[in-house]
Symmetry: C2
Subunit: 291 residues, 2 copies
DNA sequence: GCTATTGACTGACTTGTGTCAGGGAAATTT
DNA sequence: AAATTTCCCTGACACAAGTCAGTCAATAGC
């Protein structure tokens, strides 16, 4: 009886089902029905527009209205008209509501910390969880334009450099690669995109503009747990679209044969190989694409 | 913003929560309430005693009764008195019930197969899922006595030999290790235990008896995804208990320094190192324990 | 300005889920 | 043989969750 893939998958399903159930149970321990708790949490996570919350939780408009009224009666939430459309409403937590939200957060955090603490190899467990979460949540990965200097972007870039250092036989010193002024990757000259799955950054790509019609694609990175999910294609398609709206007509990029999947990606996306266009010591492949 | 462990864990939680929710939704697609579907599945999985089902699903006796009556009214289940205790009842699926159960199974299998098929590295995904499932389900690991010749046991032994082959510099040929007659690992001479998590075998250990007061512990194996969870201690404690009930007073075992965690385990469990007691070519450490 | 649409709210309703207090039959204890 | 316990069933009830039709106010389109 070699365990077959489907039964291994389903064993996983049963394990997480009972885990999810247990978390729901501990939520109920705070004396509030689950639906109400879910709305409270959605608001706490920063979703203020009622329509957005309803959409996120998949609730009927009537039910949503009643749950909100319940939270208002408890003094946890206040609602008011949307500043830009007085038909719509926004909900915000009162200080009491913030405290309740924090209590729910603490319950979840505690469960997570307990499970991690009980495991002999928490880092391996987390890596496995990242992989599973990326696989299950691949349809919920969103792309966001970010300032390349903010904390999240710097995390992505740091991971990118670490990956290069591992891949290049000679190692990699980010100082040596011409680090563009970050402002070249900010509109209107350029752009910097980060891919998020449920708040976790999984990839990035930069468009380094020069003010003219030619720009460079830089810093394409995909987290190991998210590779193979087609994320690099999505990032490339989106950054090309941004380039078009910025009036750029020619895109260039360089890469290294130590990254064969990158070379294959660019070829597959219709880039044509061209001669070296800079004297950066690391790249050995150069591509161009006309928009 | 380096993602911290707890937020990575919670991202995983959200991903599987929506996965579980989606599976529930597809179950509801068969037009039966979730509670009813769960009972049907529990019966289909081979749980026939009503009390056992109730316990497994955590249901109130009244609710359970009503759900069963509903399934009977649909013609999917028949109930009758328990053969050994006429107060208790057992439930079995009718042919229609079997068909419905199969339809639910097919839904789950389909979801699993789809997700696996969409992933670029299904084997890596499954390994990650095994690891996560073992971590979350560590309290639900059960030990069962098995015939060492059955399919499940042979799977464990095969994994055990494969592990030795990887670990030993010289490789490992199971033919060379004196393979005891399997009957030596069956009561009343010995025993063979397999650890299961939700149907998946995660470890094993054998007690090879000789008919006398001395017996040998053999074939202690733990699946990679379940290491560090204390399973080896549980298996050893249980096999020692079996040895006691079989009247065995002295236990021996041999192992190899290429398996340092095994050597450490035996020392930690109160075994004392002794001189070589066989001429098997592989082991270089020998232990004994008086019960 | 008039009309149609959108977003939220309300009341009435259904269904699912879970609890509780008994009741009857079988098993066990005294 | 009587009393007690165990197991399941039943009816009554409560509440959560979700649906639906209708209402009202704000907005958008003409």
């Amino acid at each position: 009886m070699t365990p077959d893939p489907v039964s291994r998958f389903r064993r996983f399903s049963r394990a997480v089902t009972s885990e999810v159930g247990a978390l729901d149970q501990s939520f109920l321990g705070r004396g509030r029905p689950l639906g109400t708790a879910r709305v409270l949490n959605a608001i706490g996570q920063g979703r203020t527009e009622v329509a957005a919350i309803r959409d996120y939780l998949g609730l009927d408009s009537g039910l949503m209205s009643r749950l909100l009224r319940g939270l208002e009666a408890e003094g946890l939430v206040t609602t008011g008209p949307h500043p830009e459309d007085a038909r719509a409403r926004v909900a915000v937590l009162t200080p009491d509501g913030e405290a309740e939200f924090a209590a729910y957060e603490a319950l979840s955090d505690q469960r997570a910390a307990d499970t991690l603490a009980r495991h002999p190899r928490p880092e391996a467990l987390l890596a496995a969880m990242d992989l599973v979460a990326s696989a299950l949540g691949r349809d919920r990965i969103t792309l966001e334009e970010r300032d390349p200097r903010d904390e999240t972007s710097r995390y992505c870039l740091q991971e990118y450099y670490a990956e290069l250092a591992r891949r290049f036989e000679t190692g990699f010193d980010p100082q040596l690669s011409r680090d563009p002024e970050a402002t070249d990757m900010i509109a209107p000259r350029g752009a910097f995109l980060v891919a998020f799955s449920d708040g976790l950054p999984l990839g990035c790509v930069g468009l380094k503009g020069s003010g003219g019609p030619v720009a460079e694609i830089k810093r394409l990175w995909i987290a190991p747990s998210a590779r193979g999910l087609g994320l690099s294609k999505r990032l490339m398609a989106e950054i090309e679209a941004r380039a078009r709206t910025l009036g750029i007509t020619t895109l260039r990029l360089d890469t290294n044969s130590a990254l064969p999947e990158a070379v294959a990606l660019y070829r597959g996306l219709g880039w044509t190989e061209i001669d070296r266009f800079n004297d950066d010591p690391y790249p050995d492949h150069f591509f161009e694409k006309h928009l």
